[in-house]
């Protein structure tokens, strides 16, 4: 008997009446349905052949065992994925290239730290064509706290398009790719969903799989609707765990997932920490903490990473977007223009 064929049918997520039909037909395990004739199954369950066929297909789909891969195969797949850069070399070095496909990156910080600006920059950068070392796809921005600014997004898209055309002048072989990339093409590849409650975030994540060539998914912010949750603490953990599962499911399709989180007071420490507590801390692969000091200088600190030690990088937010602090344009202040988070 096949390995997973011994799985009881009662553990497969079906409607109660479908469970009753399978029980009536004498089917107890997944293996009982393997190779069974549709007409035989239909007559034992006392239903029509079409309904029996649909039920068998549903069980086969839902009771599929996870595929096995060797670690070597997975490593080869990982090397083929292109990270989404942030246009700030310091932040990209902290993240070893940028927001990585298949992983969940959390960007955490107080008000005005630059979280939304960084997320907007990543959304725009995900559309840069492959020929210019970009991810070359589309991005999704799930706006949970109403922070998405279309004009700012257009401003960043314009800068990225200018950057691509500048690169194309040095690489004539990629002129065709650059010619088809413009501010409008960039904005067309960014899909925005305004989530008015947590259910909206969940629905948006479910629909993200329908976006063609999705390379980046951004949620701003995960804490927006969950911090006001007033139910049982166990129920809150259940909701957070389900959200983490939904995000990791999107990431497993080769999408870079970046979520922003707010800071909350910490009962065990003087410093505020990421909101949503211990249950959420396990959900992200990497955590980037953004700070802005009294003089307006911004910095990003890698607070959690599985591949490198913690580190820090300064950055600025100006009219071009998120950039390295060291590469200041003439005529701007040390922290750029007053683009707020």
């Amino acid at each position: 008997m096949d390995a997973h064929a011994s799985t009881p049918l009662e553990h497969v997520a079906l409607r109660p009446k479908d469970h009753a039909l399978l029980g009536r037909g004498g089917f107890r395990r997944v293996g009982d349905l393997v190779g069974v004739d549709v007409n035989t199954a239909a007559s034992s369950m006392r239903i029509g052949p079409d309904k029996a066929q649909a039920l068998l297909e549903e069980v086969e789909e839902k009771a599929k065992p996870p595929p096995w891969h060797s670690a070597r195969e997975l490593e080869a797949q990982e090397h083929q994925r292109v990270p989404v850069v942030s246009f700030c070399r310091g932040i990209d070095e902290l993240l070893e290239g940028g927001a990585k496909p298949g992983k969940v990156l959390e960007v955490c910080g107080g008000p005005g730290a630059g979280k939304t600006q960084l997320l907007l920059q990543l959304c725009v950068d995900a559309t840069i064509p492959h020929q210019f070392c970009g991810a070359g796809g589309s991005s999704v921005f799930i706006d949970a706290d109403g922070s998405f600014a279309p004009s700012r997004c257009a401003q960043l898209a314009k800068e990225v398009a200018k950057h691509v055309h500048r690169l194309a002048r040095k690489k004539p072989e990629h002129q065709a790719a650059a010619a088809s990339y413009s501010e409008d093409a960039c904005l067309d590849a960014i899909h925005v969903y305004r989530a008015l409650d947590h259910g909206g975030v969940v629905r948006a994540l479910a629909q993200a799989s329908t976006i063609p060539d999705l390379k980046l998914l951004v949620v701003d912010s995960v804490a927006a609707h969950l911090r006001t949750f007033e139910g049982d603490p166990g129920e809150r953990i259940r909701i957070i765990a389900k959200l983490a599962l939904d995000l990791s499911r999107v990431a497993r399709r080769g999408v870079a997932v970046v979520v922003s989180n707010q800071l909350a007071s910490n009962l065990t420490s003087d410093k505020p920490g990421p909101a949503l507590g211990e249950a959420w801390s396990h959900a992200c692969d990497e955590r980037l903490m953004l700070q802005r000091d009294a003089s307006g200088k911004r910095s990003a600190t890698l607070a959690k990473s599985s591949v490198r030690a913690v580190g820090s990088a300064p950055f600025v937010v100006d009219e071009r977007g998120v950039r390295d602090a060291a590469r200041k344009r003439r005529g701007t202040g040390s922290s750029g223009t007053a683009a707020s988070a």
Partner: protein, 263 residues
């Protein structure tokens, strides 16, 4: 079922088979836990985020899948990734670092060879996790080392089971029973990472949230905590009695290092 009996692997010579069959049972590769035979044990690694749970799982994996020449047991490992966060490049880096510490020469080749002995399944739901466990129980030959990262999330994702006795058994309970069968009948060693969800009274305290069936299965628990940016500590012991042992270690890009006593 074959229980713990070894069988000849494909393309394996008689000399290699005898060497493997006569080899001492593998320890977990963590110095402080010693060389005791852990067959049939369920070991839990408990701690908050960034406490070193996955790093220790990688250390244990490397100690099992590397060949004898590089300090390993040349045995199969099964990694059940329930959180979708296993990074293959990190796995290779940890295995290579372990091999290089044992013997620098040929470490790259040994690591590449070891990766072939690691099988990974991504489990997105309790049902996939259960199917994967059932699949392992039907494997021929010696039961592999089973690493689960992590066990806690599925419990919270499952719809709250009904209280009345007529309801279908909880899927998570079925998974726990499958783990129990693997440990008792196949003598498999199962090491599970369990995230800490509730704030405890002191650093290193354990607060159980999984059903009692799981608590009774666990024979050894390591409670992990981060004490500084470079050091982590682990208290370990029998969960039914006390946590009498402890050790400290560091975690870097190449995995765990600098195992030592707690100062």
């Amino acid at each position: 079922m074959n229980g713990g009996r070894l069988t000849l692997a494909p393309d394996e010579t008689a000399r290699e088979y005898l060497r493997r069959a006569c080899a001492a049972p593998r320890s977990l590769g963590i110095p402080a836990l010693g060389e005791a035979d852990r067959r049939g044990e369920v070991v839990e690694l408990y701690g908050p985020a960034a406490a070193g749970k996955t790093s220790l799982l990688l250390q244990i994996c490397a100690s099992w899948c590397l060949p004898d020449s590089h300090g390993g047991g040349c045995r199969k490992v099964v990694w059940l990734d329930c959180d979708g966060r296993l990074r293959p490049s990190r796995l290779r880096a940890s295995i290579y670092a372990y091999a290089a510490r044992a013997c620098e020469r040929g470490a790259q080749e040994a690591a590449a060879d070891a990766l072939q002995r690691v099988q990974v399944a991504y489990c997105a739901s309790s049902l996939e996790f259960l199917c994967a466990l059932e699949g392992i129980s039907h494997l021929e030959g010696e039961a592999p080392l089973i690493l689960v990262d992590s066990i806690g999330g599925f419990f919270w994702r499952e719809v709250k089971p009904a209280e009345d006795q007529c309801a279908a058994p909880s899927l998570f309970q079925a998974c726990v029973r499958a783990v129990g069968r693997l440990s008792s009948r196949r003598k498999a060693i199962i090491v599970c990472a369990k995230p800490k969800f509730f704030r405890a009274n002191a650093i290193g305290d354990h607060r159980e949230y999984l059903p009692r069936e799981w608590t009774l299965l666990v024979k050894r628990r390591l409670v992990l905590a981060r004490v500084s940016a470079e050091r982590l500590v682990a208290r370990f012991g029998d969960p039914q009695t006390d946590y009498s042992g402890s050790f400290s270690f560091g975690v870097g890009a190449d995995g765990c290092c600098a195992f030592g006593d707690v100062r």
